[in-house]
Protein backbone atom coordinates (compact mmCIF):
# COMPACT_ATOMS: atom_id res chain seq x y z
CA UNK A 1 0.00 0.00 0.00
CA UNK A 2 1.18 3.50 -0.83
CA UNK A 3 1.79 5.15 2.58
CA UNK A 4 -1.01 7.32 3.92
CA UNK A 5 1.26 10.30 4.59
CA UNK A 6 2.05 10.70 0.88
CA UNK A 7 -1.55 10.64 -0.35
CA UNK A 8 -2.39 14.25 0.55
CA UNK A 9 0.66 15.56 -1.33
CA UNK A 10 -0.06 13.28 -4.27
CA UNK A 11 -3.74 13.93 -4.81
CA UNK A 12 -3.93 17.54 -3.56
CA UNK A 13 -0.61 18.36 -5.21
CA UNK A 14 1.21 16.11 -7.57
CA UNK A 15 2.74 19.11 -9.31
CA UNK A 16 6.25 18.00 -10.09
CA UNK A 17 8.42 16.24 -12.60
CA UNK A 18 8.43 12.72 -14.00
CA UNK A 19 11.97 11.56 -14.73
CA UNK A 20 13.37 8.86 -16.98
CA UNK A 21 16.61 7.63 -18.50
CA UNK A 22 17.46 6.14 -21.87
CA UNK A 23 19.35 2.88 -22.36
CA UNK A 24 22.55 4.91 -22.74
CA UNK A 25 21.83 6.80 -19.48
CA UNK A 26 20.67 10.08 -20.98
CA UNK A 27 18.00 11.61 -18.73
CA UNK A 28 14.83 13.59 -19.42
CA UNK A 29 11.86 14.74 -17.38
CA UNK A 30 8.51 16.32 -18.00
CA UNK A 31 6.15 18.41 -15.88
CA UNK A 32 3.29 16.74 -14.04
CA UNK A 33 0.01 18.52 -13.39
CA UNK A 34 -1.29 16.42 -10.50
CA UNK A 35 -1.67 12.67 -10.28
CA UNK A 36 -3.97 9.87 -9.16
CA UNK A 37 -3.31 6.47 -7.66
CA UNK A 38 -4.67 2.98 -7.43
CA UNK A 39 -3.99 1.71 -3.91
CA UNK A 40 -4.92 -1.89 -4.77
CA UNK A 41 -2.34 -2.06 -7.53
CA UNK A 42 0.25 0.34 -6.01
CA UNK A 43 0.19 2.37 -9.20
CA UNK A 44 0.32 6.12 -9.77
CA UNK A 45 -0.84 7.93 -12.88
CA UNK A 46 0.86 11.26 -13.58
CA UNK A 47 -1.02 13.86 -15.60
CA UNK A 48 1.18 15.35 -18.31
CA UNK A 49 1.07 17.39 -21.51
CA UNK A 50 1.60 14.96 -24.36
CA UNK A 51 3.29 17.57 -26.57
CA UNK A 52 6.07 17.92 -23.98
CA UNK A 53 6.35 14.28 -22.91
CA UNK A 54 7.88 12.76 -26.06
CA UNK A 55 11.47 12.21 -24.82
CA UNK A 56 10.24 10.79 -21.51
CA UNK A 57 7.86 8.38 -23.22
CA UNK A 58 10.62 7.20 -25.53
CA UNK A 59 12.83 6.48 -22.52
CA UNK A 60 10.05 4.73 -20.61
CA UNK A 61 9.28 2.45 -23.53
CA UNK A 62 12.97 1.52 -23.72
CA UNK A 63 13.91 1.17 -20.04
CA UNK A 64 10.66 1.35 -17.98
CA UNK A 65 12.29 3.08 -15.02
CA UNK A 66 10.51 6.07 -13.50
CA UNK A 67 11.33 8.72 -10.91
CA UNK A 68 8.52 11.05 -9.86
CA UNK A 69 9.25 14.08 -7.70
CA UNK A 70 6.25 16.02 -6.44
CA UNK A 71 5.24 18.26 -3.59
CA UNK A 72 3.04 20.91 -2.08
CA UNK A 73 3.62 24.66 -1.65
CA UNK A 74 4.32 23.87 2.04
CA UNK A 75 7.55 22.18 0.79
CA UNK A 76 6.31 18.70 1.75
CA UNK A 77 7.73 16.57 -1.05
CA UNK A 78 8.32 12.95 -2.01
CA UNK A 79 10.01 10.99 -4.75
CA UNK A 80 8.43 7.76 -5.99
CA UNK A 81 10.44 5.32 -8.07
CA UNK A 82 9.06 2.44 -10.06
CA UNK A 83 8.33 0.71 -13.34
CA UNK A 84 6.40 2.14 -16.27
CA UNK A 85 3.06 0.40 -16.88
CA UNK A 86 1.53 2.37 -19.76
CA UNK A 87 -0.25 5.48 -20.93
CA UNK A 88 -3.94 6.25 -21.05
CA UNK A 89 -6.48 9.02 -21.44
CA UNK A 90 -7.41 10.89 -18.29
CA UNK A 91 -10.84 10.41 -16.76
CA UNK A 92 -13.30 13.27 -16.19
CA UNK A 93 -12.63 13.02 -12.42
CA UNK A 94 -8.88 13.21 -12.96
CA UNK A 95 -9.22 16.24 -15.22
CA UNK A 96 -11.48 17.94 -12.67
CA UNK A 97 -8.97 17.27 -9.88
CA UNK A 98 -6.12 18.55 -12.01
CA UNK A 99 -8.06 21.73 -12.75
CA UNK A 100 -8.69 22.23 -9.01
CA UNK A 101 -5.01 21.67 -8.14
CA UNK A 102 -3.77 23.91 -10.95
CA UNK A 103 -6.15 26.70 -9.90
CA UNK A 104 -4.91 26.47 -6.29
CA UNK A 105 -1.33 26.56 -7.52
CA UNK A 106 -2.02 29.58 -9.71
CA UNK A 107 -3.60 31.33 -6.69
CA UNK A 108 -0.51 30.49 -4.64
CA UNK A 109 1.81 31.89 -7.30
CA UNK A 110 -0.16 35.13 -7.70
CA UNK A 111 -0.24 35.54 -3.89
CA UNK A 112 3.57 35.60 -4.10
CA UNK A 113 3.48 38.50 -6.53
CA UNK A 114 3.72 36.56 -9.78
CA UNK A 115 1.43 37.92 -12.48
CA UNK A 116 -1.74 36.05 -13.39
CA UNK A 117 -0.55 36.00 -17.02
CA UNK A 118 2.69 34.25 -16.05
CA UNK A 119 0.87 31.71 -13.87
CA UNK A 120 -1.49 31.04 -16.76
CA UNK A 121 1.43 30.60 -19.15
CA UNK A 122 2.94 27.95 -16.86
CA UNK A 123 -0.20 26.15 -15.74
CA UNK A 124 -2.94 27.20 -18.12
CA UNK A 125 -2.93 24.21 -20.47
CA UNK A 126 -4.73 21.20 -19.02
CA UNK A 127 -2.97 17.81 -19.12
CA UNK A 128 -4.10 15.40 -21.80
CA UNK A 129 -2.24 12.17 -21.01
CA UNK A 130 -1.80 9.83 -18.07
CA UNK A 131 1.50 8.01 -17.54
CA UNK A 132 1.07 5.10 -15.14
CA UNK A 133 3.82 3.37 -13.19
CA UNK A 134 3.99 0.77 -10.44
CA UNK A 135 5.53 2.23 -7.30
CA UNK A 136 8.50 0.32 -5.89
CA UNK A 137 10.30 2.80 -3.64
CA UNK A 138 9.36 6.04 -1.90
CA UNK A 139 11.75 8.67 -0.55
CA UNK A 140 10.99 11.68 1.66
CA UNK A 141 12.15 14.88 -0.03
CA UNK A 142 10.74 17.44 2.39
CA UNK A 143 13.65 19.65 3.47
CA UNK A 144 14.70 18.70 6.99
CA UNK A 145 16.12 15.83 9.02
CA UNK A 146 14.14 13.14 7.17
CA UNK A 147 15.13 14.29 3.66
CA UNK A 148 16.40 11.41 1.57
CA UNK A 149 15.06 8.71 3.89
CA UNK A 150 13.23 5.82 2.29
CA UNK A 151 9.66 5.34 3.50
CA UNK A 152 8.74 1.79 4.47
CA UNK A 153 6.54 0.43 1.72
CA UNK A 154 4.70 -2.91 1.31
Amino acid sequence: MIPERTIEALTNGGIGHLGSASADLKTAHTETMSASMNQAKDTVTCFVLSFLAGPVLENLKATSRVSFFFGLPSHEAYQFKGQFVGTRELTADELANSERVLNLTKEFLTSMGISAEAAEQMLGTPPDLGITFKVEKIFIQTPGPEAGQELPFN
Partner: protein
Protein backbone atom coordinates in the same frame (compact mmCIF):
# COMPACT_ATOMS: atom_id res chain seq x y z
CA UNK B 1 24.01 29.30 -25.61
CA UNK B 2 23.06 31.02 -22.33
CA UNK B 3 21.96 34.56 -23.16
CA UNK B 4 20.55 37.56 -21.26
CA UNK B 5 17.12 36.00 -21.75
CA UNK B 6 18.11 33.13 -19.43
CA UNK B 7 19.92 35.10 -16.74
CA UNK B 8 16.84 35.70 -14.53
CA UNK B 9 16.39 31.90 -14.32
CA UNK B 10 19.85 31.54 -12.76
CA UNK B 11 19.45 33.94 -9.83
CA UNK B 12 17.87 31.50 -7.35
CA UNK B 13 14.51 33.27 -7.28
CA UNK B 14 12.60 30.20 -8.43
CA UNK B 15 13.61 26.56 -7.85
CA UNK B 16 15.04 24.36 -10.60
CA UNK B 17 14.66 20.63 -11.16
CA UNK B 18 17.25 18.09 -12.14
CA UNK B 19 17.14 14.46 -13.23
CA UNK B 20 20.24 12.29 -13.03
CA UNK B 21 20.73 8.59 -13.47
CA UNK B 22 22.84 5.95 -11.72
CA UNK B 23 25.18 3.63 -13.59
CA UNK B 24 22.56 0.90 -13.44
CA UNK B 25 19.92 3.12 -15.07
CA UNK B 26 17.79 4.27 -12.13
CA UNK B 27 16.68 7.91 -12.66
CA UNK B 28 16.51 10.40 -9.78
CA UNK B 29 14.53 13.62 -9.98
CA UNK B 30 14.78 16.37 -7.41
CA UNK B 31 14.42 20.09 -6.83
CA UNK B 32 17.39 22.39 -6.31
CA UNK B 33 17.37 25.93 -5.03
CA UNK B 34 19.63 27.39 -7.70
CA UNK B 35 21.58 26.65 -10.84
CA UNK B 36 24.38 29.21 -11.15
CA UNK B 37 25.52 31.01 -14.27
CA UNK B 38 29.23 30.50 -15.01
CA UNK B 39 29.59 31.55 -18.66
CA UNK B 40 27.53 31.19 -21.82
CA UNK B 41 28.31 27.46 -22.05
CA UNK B 42 28.56 26.42 -18.38
CA UNK B 43 26.44 26.40 -15.25
CA UNK B 44 27.25 25.28 -11.72
CA UNK B 45 25.49 23.37 -8.96
CA UNK B 46 26.45 23.64 -5.32
CA UNK B 47 27.82 20.51 -3.69
CA UNK B 48 26.92 20.64 0.00
CA UNK B 49 26.09 17.02 0.79
CA UNK B 50 26.91 13.69 -0.77
CA UNK B 51 23.35 13.18 -1.97
CA UNK B 52 21.86 10.97 -4.67
CA UNK B 53 22.40 13.58 -7.39
CA UNK B 54 26.10 13.81 -6.54
CA UNK B 55 26.42 10.02 -6.38
CA UNK B 56 24.71 9.61 -9.75
CA UNK B 57 26.87 12.27 -11.40
CA UNK B 58 30.00 10.49 -10.15
CA UNK B 59 28.75 7.40 -12.02
CA UNK B 60 27.20 9.05 -15.08
CA UNK B 61 27.92 12.69 -16.06
CA UNK B 62 24.66 13.34 -17.92
CA UNK B 63 21.86 15.38 -16.37
CA UNK B 64 18.68 17.11 -17.46
CA UNK B 65 17.47 20.29 -15.76
CA UNK B 66 14.59 22.75 -15.93
CA UNK B 67 15.00 26.40 -15.01
CA UNK B 68 12.25 28.99 -14.70
CA UNK B 69 12.15 32.72 -15.37
CA UNK B 70 10.64 34.10 -12.12
CA UNK B 71 8.96 36.99 -13.93
CA UNK B 72 7.30 35.22 -16.82
CA UNK B 73 7.42 31.58 -15.54
CA UNK B 74 8.78 30.59 -18.95
CA UNK B 75 10.57 27.27 -18.45
CA UNK B 76 13.73 26.09 -20.21
CA UNK B 77 15.14 22.57 -20.42
CA UNK B 78 18.89 22.07 -20.30
CA UNK B 79 20.88 18.99 -21.20
CA UNK B 80 23.97 19.04 -19.01
CA UNK B 81 27.20 17.12 -18.72
CA UNK B 82 29.37 17.27 -15.61
CA UNK B 83 32.71 18.90 -16.37
CA UNK B 84 34.67 19.40 -13.14
CA UNK B 85 34.43 20.52 -9.54
CA UNK B 86 36.10 23.57 -7.98
CA UNK B 87 36.81 24.02 -4.29
CA UNK B 88 38.42 27.45 -4.50
CA UNK B 89 38.39 30.54 -6.70
CA UNK B 90 35.94 33.34 -7.49
CA UNK B 91 32.96 31.14 -8.39
CA UNK B 92 33.40 28.98 -5.28
CA UNK B 93 33.73 32.08 -3.06
CA UNK B 94 30.63 33.70 -4.57
CA UNK B 95 28.54 30.56 -4.11
CA UNK B 96 29.90 30.02 -0.60
CA UNK B 97 29.09 33.59 0.41
CA UNK B 98 25.52 33.41 -0.90
CA UNK B 99 24.87 30.05 0.75
CA UNK B 100 26.28 31.31 4.04
CA UNK B 101 24.06 34.40 3.81
CA UNK B 102 20.99 32.20 3.29
CA UNK B 103 22.11 29.90 6.12
CA UNK B 104 22.60 32.73 8.56
CA UNK B 105 19.16 34.16 7.73
CA UNK B 106 17.60 30.78 8.51
CA UNK B 107 19.62 30.05 11.63
CA UNK B 108 21.65 27.36 9.88
CA UNK B 109 24.99 29.13 9.80
CA UNK B 110 27.90 26.71 9.44
CA UNK B 111 25.61 23.75 8.68
CA UNK B 112 25.24 24.06 4.91
CA UNK B 113 28.93 24.30 4.13
CA UNK B 114 29.86 24.42 0.45
CA UNK B 115 32.10 21.51 -0.43
CA UNK B 116 32.44 22.28 -4.11
CA UNK B 117 31.15 24.17 -7.11
CA UNK B 118 30.25 21.50 -9.66
CA UNK B 119 30.51 22.84 -13.21
CA UNK B 120 28.44 21.43 -16.04
CA UNK B 121 28.72 21.98 -19.77
CA UNK B 122 25.38 23.01 -21.28
CA UNK B 123 24.81 20.66 -24.22
CA UNK B 124 21.46 22.15 -25.19
CA UNK B 125 19.03 24.77 -23.93
CA UNK B 126 15.46 24.90 -25.15
CA UNK B 127 12.38 26.89 -24.13
CA UNK B 128 9.47 24.63 -23.26
CA UNK B 129 6.81 24.76 -25.88
CA UNK B 130 9.20 26.31 -28.40
Amino acid sequence: MITDEHQPCLQGMFPSWITTCSADGEPNTTVISQIWYVDDEHVALSHQFFNKTKKNISENPRAFATIVNPGTLQMYNLELEFDHSESEGDLFDEMDMKLEAIASMTGMSGIFKLLGADLYKVKSLKALGA
